[in-house]
């Protein structure tokens, strides 16, 4: 099959559309998580989403729905307990991993799904996953336009809300829930590490090369989408699981950015000095 055939084949159209939406949304969320120094959230929530997907399966819920419920519950607990930073997510990772492995080890269906969540088999995505991804995309667009300035102000001017007795908590809770929802849907489609890599790597690249916050968002989204497309074709062409290929593509992109920066610094005569 040629590249256009792979992209346009009806069998692969739904997964491709689902992956594109996820690869657009997660890097944007990742940029904000990086800004808040909470990027480990992605891995913590992905683990919990994967574990709750298996629990949901046991009671007859679709994996994407079970994952969403578990991740949202974790987001609410995290926000209400005012746990912030990567420490809270470190504990989530441990809890999620422990539950995921135990459930997968003790049920037949759980073992199969657990394997799929680790592999990140985007190609099994259907109408339900696409609907969830589109819902996530719409929610992200509506929410981020509204809360992004508040989240950024809270980061750079952390006393502003308190000094003016403004209800800042609702913005943080809204963002925590958006992250949880995004990670749950992404984990059910691109897998646990695929979701984490889409949050972490595009934002990391953008933070290093973007000239402004606007460009950070643009570069993050572009890196996410282009890497997803490349990984999609490579995994199909070489008959490999999608998740590890996506992580490989993203890591290669990050390595090329590092190399290009080092070469530029070498030819420019060393790193730029801060001018006072």
């Amino acid at each position: 099959m040629s590249v256009p055939d792979l992209l346009l084949d009806p069998l692969f159209r739904l997964p491709l559309m689902t992956g594109t939406v996820i690869a657009l949304v997660l890097p944007l969320i990742g940029a904000l998580l990086m800004l808040r120094d909470e990027w480990l959230a992605a891995l913590g929530l992905a683990h919990l989403a994967a574990a709750s997907a298996l629990v949901g399966l046991a009671v007859g819920l679709p994996a994407v729905l079970g994952g969403m419920l578990g991740a949202l519950a974790a987001g609410v607990v995290k926000s209400l307990s005012r746990a912030s930073g990567n420490l809270a997510y470190g504990f989530m990772i441990l809890l999620g991993w422990s539950a995921l492995v135990l459930i997968a080890a003790n049920t037949t269906l759980g073992a199969a799904l657990g394997h799929a969540l680790i592999d990140g088999q985007l190609y099994f995505s259907g109408a339900l996953e696409l609907t969830a991804a589109l819902l996530l995309g719409a929610l992200t667009a509506l929410t981020l336009i509204r809360i992004m300035p508040h989240l950024m102000r809270a980061r750079f001017f952390p006393t502003y809300e308190q000094a003016n007795r403004l209800p800042a908590r609702r913005w943080h809770l809204t963002f925590d829930l958006l992250v949880a929802l995004g990670l749950a849907i992404a984990t059910a489609t691109v897998g646990l590490m695929g979701a984490f890599s889409l949050v972490l790597v595009p934002a990391w690249i953008a933070f290093h090369i973007a000239s402004s916050w606007t460009w950070t968002l643009v570069i993050s989204a572009l890196v996410g989408i282009l890497s997803m497309m490349l990984a999609y074709l490579a995994a199909l062409a070489w008959d490999q699981p999608f998740g590890p290929i996506l992580v490989g593509v993203l890591l290669s992109t990050a390595a090329m950015v590092v190399l290009a920066r080092q070469l530029r610094m070498r030819f420019a005569g060393g790193p730029r000095r801060r001018l006072d």
Binding site: F157, F207, S212
Partner: protein, 196 residues
Amino acid sequence: MPLLTLSGLVAGHGDPVIGPVSLRVMAGEVVGLWGPNGCGKSTLLNAIIDRAVIFAGQIERAPRLRLAYQEQWSVRLPIMPVTGGELLRLMGACDQALPDALRCLLRRRIDRLSGGQYQLLRVWAALSGGADLILLDEPTNNLDPERESLLLQMLAKVPAQRSRRLLDVGSGRAVLLVSHERRFLDAACSRVIEIG
């Protein structure tokens, strides 16, 4: 009507650190709080923004008072792809009257600014962000003499600026600033209160 009134305020964190302090800040004033290190100047500002324990006395704010608070140590992350202009917009700060020395920073990433440049940009964000009362904690941190004089020029413009909301309590806005540099306070403030 004052923008802020402190009446017999005793504040601290675990234990009382400062007080009793009574003072009023009127619209159009730049009030300086001077005292040696550790006397509780920053704790006083923290009490005003509800970040310290009040053991006695009270704080009264004018209705609908909008505050801006510039902390002694600013949030500065090692990698931060946000420009000076984007930082100002977060606080709704106006960049039309921005001094030329700061205008060139609008398009630069804040993680590539010097400590003094970043400090001045944040002070400008507080001063021009539409707050009625601006609290500045040691605003001369990281500033060389040249930038200190720029800060004095910025502060001198504040009393003449009209509040966007509080037309009923006076025509101007006000600054309450804390510093251990008496010379700077004398140059910047309409009155200086010694505490501690």
